[in-house]
């Protein structure tokens, strides 16, 4: 603002000018501070992305060379003997996970249904237990598997299934409950008004409506169970040979990666990378697949 005539300063104009100057400098300062703080946030985003991307890139670049026909068809060889694959570990992981899932999914979903339909103190306690159990150290579940199964029946694939299923159970319960609770009340009430029994409502309304969420939850739980290492280290013992019988000791991919990673033989480390890539691909396919499937099923419904 320029003053044209030389008059005595108007106190109001002076005051206004002072306020405007102060506001301008404050705005400058605040804008600078904002820019600095937000840049730091961007920086942190970069810091977070770099190692995470590095892990994925390294596993792919180091693991792919290990993939060949032998890798997927032959069993592990003794230390020092070249060649061999991880077929026994793939079979072990598949058998252990399938059995664990087969028990944990129905039990977990029914439990989730129970939590959806009851609002008492017992349900709240169970819900809290399930929540806490999703976060407890997995090694302690391995100890439980050891005490409960290995102590009495020896090391076996089933002991591993027990531990893996136990880890998946609370995840499935909470995912199931969340999915079931998402079913609109109006649907429930309409069915009730028609005189349907609770069992019928659950079977014909709640479960089908909640299916996309349920499938997502189950697939994520499987992805979680597949990658568990510590519980398996305490329960399945490992097996150099192909073993389909879950009552015997078994090999599995995560313990194999753990054991081979610290071996002095380059070819074993190579196999560990290949196994890590395989595990990562399976887990990511399950995770991404579950999301896509959920989107697809929801769209299909409309």
């Amino acid at each position: 603002m320029t003053v044209l005539i030389d008059t005595p300063p108007d106190p109001i104009v002076e005051r206004r000018r002072a306020v405007q100057a102060a506001a301008a400098s404050s705005l400058k300062r605040r804008k600078l501070g904002s820019r600095v703080a937000l840049t730091v946030c961007w920086l942190f985003l970069a810091i977070a992305i770099v190692p995470l991307v590095a892990v994925v890139v390294y596993v792919i670049s180091k693991g792919l060379p290990a993939w060949n026909v032998d890798f997927f068809t032959k069993s592990t060889t003794p230390e020092g003997v070249p060649g061999g694959g991880v077929w026994n570990a793939i079979v072990g992981t598949a058998v252990i996970t399938v059995i664990g899932t087969a028990v944990a999914v129905p039990l977990g979903l029914l439990c989730g249904l129970f939590l959806t339909e009851s609002d008492g103190r017992i349900a709240a306690a169970l819900r809290f237990t399930a929540d806490v159990m999703t976060g407890i150290p997995s090694i302690t579940v391995g100890i439980f598997g050891y005490i409960a199964i290995v102590h009495n029946f020896g090391y076996s694939g089933l002991a591993g299934s027990f531990a893996v299923g136990f880890i998946m159970l609370p995840v499935i319960i909470r995912a199931g409950e969340t999915a079931f609770r998402g079913v609109p009340r109006s649907l429930n009430e309409a069915a009730m008004a028609l005189g349907a029994r609770r069992a019928t409502i659950a079977r014909k309304i709640v479960v089908p409506t909640a299916l996309p969420g349920v499938i997502t939850g189950v697939l994520l739980a499987i992805a979680r169970g597949l990658g568990e290492t510590a519980p398996l280290l305490l329960t399945i013992f490992g097996n150099q040979y192909l073993q389909w019988n879950p009552t015997k000791t078994m090999a599995a991919l995560p313990p194999l990666i753990y054991q081979y990673s610290s071996q002095p033989y380059a070819d074993l480390v190579q196999i560990a990378w290949g196994a890590a890539l395989l595990l990562m691909v399976i887990v990511l396919v399950l995770s991404i697949g579950s999301r896509l499937l959920a989107v697809y099923l929801r769209r299909e419904r409309r």
């Binding site: 977070a48 995470l52 977990g108 005490i147």
Partner: protein, 323 residues
């Protein structure tokens, strides 16, 4: 197939037939709930019972003994408790600012078009098995730490006394950094969920008053989601405390109290996983006791975290976190 009964249905009067299937259904649900509850109780009781002999022979004070030497009957857990706390501390001290900053960037700064893709990517990375992170840490990161990071830190911060001793690559620092990378997706995913539910009218109100974006974040968004962020932080801490294989692969596994960040050390989980196969008698029971200590810490930390996340009223956030 049972058909839906209408009030006109002739079966209506027969109460027994009507209620039986429903009772069966309710009974089945209650039964599964009982099974789950019983499993949880069995879990706790089984570990306590197996740890009892160690407490009986060694007294309660054994947990805080400073020496682990099974051949001399010494089963002190202090080095492992300290190791667990130190590694966790390194991880969360790094993960808190980086995780929060990343969550803010993902929630408000990244262009709308890439926001969902980037958020999904971060969430997917949380699903990568820990053994894969461990392998990467041991084979790729350990040499980098030995040759570059540790010499640099020693020359720059050696005066603090935190970086004494040889550059091994593996050790407390590497274990902490690997854990930091592992818990980051958890921290980011929940913090972001908590940040984006802050009411829009509050944000817009602050903007209308002339607040800059950072002022809106610091004065409106962050205070509103403080509890949830604390919950995310605590959950990530719980995950770090209990991580076994990734830490066991890169920490060097030495049963002594670490004297520098470069020292090899051990955590409770790595102690258990490394000694389980060869242990019998009191040593095995002592390992169960170590597991019990870990379990109690895990239950406490996770209870606190759930309570914090719950009290912000975002129950669904808690579920996704667990995976």
């Amino acid at each position: 197939m049972t058909t839906v009964e209408t009030p006109l249905s002739p079966k209506v009067g027969r109460g027994r037939r009507r209620s039986l299937p429903d009772n069966g259904y309710r009974g089945m649900l209650a039964l599964t709930a009982i099974v789950f509850g019983a499993l949880a109780v069995w879990f706790l009781v089984a570990v306590i019972l197996q740890a009892k002999p160690a407490f009986a022979t060694l007294g309660v004070g054994w947990i805080f003994g400073g020496t682990w030497n099974p051949t001399h009957g010494q089963y002190g857990l202090l080095p492992f408790i300290l190791g667990t706390l130190e590694v966790t501390a390194i991880a969360v001290v790094l993960a808190f600012p980086v995780g929060l900053g990343t969550a803010i960037a993902l929630a408000f700064l990244v262009p709308m078009r890439v926001r969902p893709a980037l958020s999904t990517t971060v969430e997917l990375l949380a699903a990568i098995p820990s053994v894969v992170y461990g392998l990467w840490g041991l084979i790729v990161l350990a040499p980098v730490f030995r040759d570059t990071v540790e010499p640099f830190l020693t020359s720059a911060f050696g005066w603090t006394g935190l970086f004494n001793g040889p550059n091994n690559g593996t050790g407390l620092l590497l274990a902490g950094v690997i854990l930091f990378v592992m818990i980051l997706p958890t921290m980011v995913a929940i913090s972001r969920d908590v940040l984006i539910v802050v009411p829009t009218d509050q944000v817009e109100g602050a903007m209308a008053l002339g607040a800059t974006r950072w002022q809106v974040l610091r004065k409106v968004v962050l205070p509103g989601s403080r509890t949830g962020i604390l919950g995310a932080f605590t959950l990530a801490t719980g995950r770090a405390l209990g991580e076994t294989v990734a830490v066991a692969m890169v920490i060097g596994n030495s049963p002594y109290i670490a004297h520098s960040l470069k020292s090899s050390a051990a955590t409770i989980p790595s102690l258990i996983v490394n000694n389980f196969g060869e242990s019998t008698g009191t040593e095995l029971s002592a390992l169960f006791g170590a597991g019990l200590v870990l379990l109690v810490i895990g239950i406490l930390v996770n209870s606190a975290a759930r309570w914090l996340v719950w009290s912000t009223g975002h129950q669904s956030a808690g579920v996704e976190v667990g995976t």
